[in-house]
Each structure stands twice: as structure tokens, then as C-alpha cells.
Subunit: 359 residues, 2 copies
């Protein structure tokens, strides 16, 4: 059973409103599992800003629920005042992590919902907004589960997979993307083991992936990134599962730094390399990975990101946040609509148009 | 100009004895460059035990000089008492790092020298022992320089190399093995740039390699291990240079974990992959790498090696200290006697017999 990263907790059984947001405080991981529960939109804003909740899908859910918190706090008989409260809350929450695309999409959707509700009386207006936020969460969960179902067809009982960074439940509502087939395999009673790259510099694999898999009772082994090749050489690894930040029309995939390295190593060891990501990461407007800009991170994350300084002062550091894995190294791309195989130019476009690609 | 990791400092110009040992306190790196100077064999013993001096060749030099410290402290006209002091010091120093092979070799050599000196009077006896310790140091420096000279023929002016862990001057007397060609290139006025893997879990690349190259004014860029592939993909890297802990008869090479990963990545990017190591690491008694036992390190080095805990309590960790790079991925093996090319079964044996292998 996967963890619930973020959820809406209604006060009573009859209606969603009033309610509270309950989320795992990810800044306390992996040390302790602490839930943050709040009915205060300012506290929610701070939680997003301070990375207590992180991962694009989870942030989208958080701000949608934040709009509901703001509106339910308005004690008014005037729906027009509630409409204004929605707009104010959306503007306020947009400032919490100003570069997150899912955040803007979720806020736009809440605003459109409010407009559609028109001047419905306050109680059903609030209830309908809460339902919409809940729907955003449920759609995310269903999207993850669908990725998991498709991904599961690529695995078998009694297998060991290797993953990188955290494309797990903590970045989404509960199942994650790359880890979704792992959770589903476990639900089906399969034996599945995971090797998790610690993922330097910020150690999302050690801090988050290892933690959430242990919570779910899944057999996980932590390794340093430079150990993946020697584990592959033992013949133990059935598949590599990774997420994606952006996928170009030809299948070239940008993901956390180190993903490309794993893809080269997987090819050399004849291990299938699967990218698992929602269709929202497909960017068919860019023909290939050469058009994906790569963010570079501050040197300090490498030289002193772990509590103390571990490299000389003034040392030059090269720290790209992402790398691009060429489509030729990717065995298949799994999204909520199915599985794309090379050539990706046609299979990704077919999936986006809702047509099942030829297997 | 490379740093002097460890050296003998005579008090006067006329003779080596009395003198002191001067070494870089490596536990203070990369924070500060502090030299430890001592004429006290107990302080030297503690410095070895506490890893203030590390790296097999450097430890060998340290204990040889330690024998001299013990003997020069004996105020006696009786050479037989000095012979006993040599044996006592050798036994004492052998306990500082009981598994280091170079340490035992150096102590054996000092004891044999004492035996050969017979009952020569105290002053020349002490002087001859000091000369022998100096010779061990000079031979190490010459061995490194010879590796550097051979390695340099594989590089060219205006190039960028990538290295892993620390096979540099800090592990030897001054030039190192894998880094020796880099220092020689610099001496020749070549432009040479180095990308240094930080080398998890213990970060020898960040702490030691980056530091010593910066001290020598060499352009060094620190990366996380999982970034090497993306740097290679840019086409910037002319060669990968690594050391070796043990080389089997067929050329399979055990070295710091992550070396095998680099070798696979280098092959995929058509970058030459060079192993640089003294002939003392050749172990022709073992036919291939399958016979090299791999030490496994404690989980804590991965989960809390950096000052604070960064992974869940109780997480399973797989942390091999070394991996084995198959000979097929190694472009050449460079030792102090020359360059071995595949097939290594013949070229390594020829080098050990002192014959120049056919190119």
C-alpha cells in the first residue's frame, strides 16, 4: 500500500467542506514521518515554499486544495465575494514556487471551475471547488496507476529493477511514475526488488526513494550512483525504470542527471531501459533533445550539500541538473495511455492523439 | 610543481641524520594545508594510524623514515643496540596499518639493510639507514615519473582528461600514478584540463584530487560520478586516466568502485581508457578478474559518511569498495617500464620480465 503524499481530510462524512489538507512533511524525511495538517492557506503556501511538499504533480494538488482552504475560510453569503477569494488565493499561491508548470495548470483549472459555477450559493460553490481539487488529486492517482498497469506488463514476478532519483509516490499523490509498476507488482503479490541510486548531488534516491519503498515493505537496496554498472554486471537487474522531465518528439528524454549514464550502461549490459512519465511531459514541439535547455545548479550542492564542506574552497564545479538520454537508448516510453516503442516520432504522436500505437 | 606528500628533512647540510619527517596532514584537507613535522616515531605511528598519511606508497615511505627516527634517537656507541632498535621499530610500525603490503615491504627492506650494515659504527650506521629510507622515497618518485613519461606519450597538448578517485601525488611521494602524466604535461607547459569524479562514498576525488591539482595550478573541474557520461557526450574528454589496485594476468583491473562504470562509458563514447599503475600491482598469479576478492564497505559510509544521516535508518546498502574492469575495455596499461597493449597476457608478462612489448 503506497503512502498518501497529500490528501484532503473533510471534517464530516456528509460533505468535503470544511476540511483540512494533510501532507507528508518531506523536509523531515528520511529521519521521521511527520504529517502536516492545516486549514490555513498561508501555512500551505509556506509548506510549498519550504519544499515540505515537492514534485510537480504533488504541488499542483497542493495549490488546488489551497484555493479550497482560502474559500472555505470566507464567511459570506455573497458568492461574488467567493469568486474574488478564488482569484486572490490563486494569485497568492502562484508565488509559492513560481516556475512550476503543474502549479499554474492546477490554479487555472480551479479558476475556470469557479467561473463555471457562476453565482451558485456559497455552500454548494465551496463544495464544488473542493470536489474539483479532489478530482485533480484523483486524476493524478489514476494517471500513476495507469502508468503502473502498462509498466507492469514489461516486468515479471521475481525480478529486480534499478531506479534513479525519485519518480515515486512522494512526487505525486501516491504511486509515482517510475515506481508505479513496483507498487502494483507488490499489490499483486509479486516479489520485486529495487536497487535505488542515491542520486548525487541532492540524494533524492537515498532520502526519498529508499524511504518510500521501505515504508511500503518493498525490498530496496541503496547504492552510490557509481555502483550501478557493477550491479548490472552481476546479471541481477531485469530492467531500469526512470521518470522524465521532458520528452522530445523523437523520444529523446531529459531527466535527472545520471539518467543518461544509466541508459548507456543498461545498453552495454543488454538490460531494458524504460522511461515512465505522463503525457504532460511529452513536448512534441521540440524535434529532439538538442533543443532542451539544461539547468545548471550551484556548486555548493556538490561541495557542501551534505552538511559539511567536502571539496576545496574555490574549486570549479560542473553540475548540470539534467541530462538528455537519446531515444536510441530507450527500450520503451510508458505513459498513462500505453507504451510507446521506437520509432518514437510516430508512437508518441499516436499516443497523444489517443490512438493505440502498433505494438 | 607537484607537492611533496612526505619527505625527510635533515637538520644540517652535511648529513641526513639527525633529521625529521615532514608530511601533509591529509585529514586537514581540503580545508587547510597543514604540514606535520616530527622526529618522534610514536607521533609518526599515530599519523599513519589516523590516516594523516595514506596511500600504499606513501605509507611505505613513512614507515621506512620511522625506522630512522627510532634509531637516531638511540644515544649509544653500541651498534648491536641499534640493530635491536631497528627490529623493535619495525615491529612497532608494522602495527600502525596492519594490512598494508607496501608497509611490510618497506620495513623488510630496512631490516635487511640493517643486517647488511653489520656492526658498522653508530654514526655511519644511522646515516646508511637514512639513505635507504631516502632511496625508497626517491624510487617511488622515479617510478611515478616514469609512469608519467610513458603516459604522456598517450596525450597531447591542449587536452582534457577525466579521472576517478585519487591516484595522485597524495597517495605517493609526489607525482602519483594516474595523475603523473598530468603533472608532467603541466611541467612541459602543455595546456591540460582535468575533470575529477568526486568518487562516492568517501569523496577522494573531491577532497584530494581536486585539491592537489588546484595546488599545482592545474585546471580542474569537479563533477559528481553520475555526470561523467554527460561530460563525455560533449566530446570534450580526450582520455580517461585511472589507477589500479590489482591487475590480473589477462589485464582485468580492480580499482575503486566506479572505475568499471567509467570504462563502459568511455568505450561507448570512443574515448581511450588508460590504467596507470606500478608493476607492483601486477598479479600474474591470478588469470583474470574473477579471482580478485572484492571488499565490501560498511553501510554508514554511504548513509552518513558526509557529516549527517542522508538515508533511512535500517536501509539495506550494497557498497563494494572496488570493481573489476574487464581487459577488453582497457585501451592500454601504463607502468613504470612502459605501455602494455592487448593482448595483455603477453604484454604484461613481457613488461614484468623487463622486455619491451611490441607496440
Amino acid at each position: 500500500m503506497a503512502l498518501r503524499t497529500i490528501e484532503w481530510m473533510p471534517a464530516g462524512a456528509a460533505s468535503l467542506v470544511p476540511g483540512r489538507v494533510r501532507m507528508i512533511d518531506q523536509t523531515r524525511l528520511p529521519g521521521e514521518l511527520v504529517y502536516l495538517e492545516t486549514a490555513d492557506v498561508r501555512e500551505l503556501w509556506a509548506a510549498i515554499r519550504e519544499l515540505k511538499v515537492r514534485g510537480a504533480p504533488a504541488i499542483g494538488i497542493a495549490v488546488a486544495m489551497g484555493v479550497v482552504l482560502a474559500v472555505q475560510a470566507e464567511d459570506t453569503a455573497d458568492t461574488a465575494a467567493l469568486q474574488k477569494a478564488v482569484d486572490r488565493a490563486a494569485e497568492y499561491l502562484a508565488g509559492a514556487r513560481p516556475t512550476a508548470v503543474n502549479l499554474f495548470n492546477a490554479l487555472d483549472r480551479m479558476k475556470r471551475t469557479a467561473v463555471r459555477l457562476g453565482n451558485r450559493p456559497p455552500a454548494p460553490f465551496k463544495e464544488a471547488l473542493a470536489r474539483e481539487a479532489q478530482r485533480i488529486r484523483d486524476e493524478d492517482a489514476e494517471m500513476c496507476r495507469a502508468i503502473g498497469r502498462h509498466g507492469l506488463t514489461l516486468l515479471r514476478d521475481d525480478c529486480t529493477v534499478l531506479t534513479h532519483c525519485n519518480a515515486g509516490g512522494l512526487a505525486t499523490s501516491e504511486y509515482g511514475t517510475a515506481l508505479a509498476p513496483v507498487y502494483l507488482a507488490r499489490e499483486q503479490g509479486w516479489t520485486i526488488r529495487v536497487f535505488a541510486d542515491e542520486t548525487r548531488p541532492l540524494l533524492q534516491g537515498a532520502r526519498l526513494t529508499a524511504w518510500e519503498l521501505m515504508q511500503a515493505g518493498i525490498d530496496v537496496t541503496l547504492i552510490c550512483d557509481n555502483m550501478a554498472a557493477s550491479v548490472m554486471a552481476t546479471g541481477k537487474i531485469s530492467a531500469v525504470l526512470v521518470g522524465a522531465d521532458r520528452i522530445a518528439a523523437n523520444g529523446d528524454t531529459a531527466n535527472k542527471i545520471g539518467t543518461y549514464s544509466l541508459a548507456v550502461l543498461a545498453a552495454a549490459h543488454e538490460i531494458p531501459f524504460y522511461v515512465l512519465a505522463p503525457t504532460t511531459t511529452f513536448d512534441l514541439a521540440i524535434p529532439n533533445g538538442g533543443h532542451i535547455p539544461i539547468e545548471h545548479r550551484p556548486a555548493e550542492e556538490v561541495t557542501e550539500g551534505l552538511g559539511r564542506r567536502t571539496a576545496p574552497h574555490g574549486v570549479k564545479v560542473h553540475s548540470p541538473a539534467f541530462d538528455v538520454t537519446p531515444a536510441g537508448l530507450i527500450t520503451a516510453i510508458v505513459c498513462e495511455r500505453g507504451i510507446a516503442r521506437p520509432p518514437y516520432e510516430t508512437s508518441l504522436a499516436q499516443l497523444l492523439r489517443g490512438k493505440k500505437p502498433t505494438p
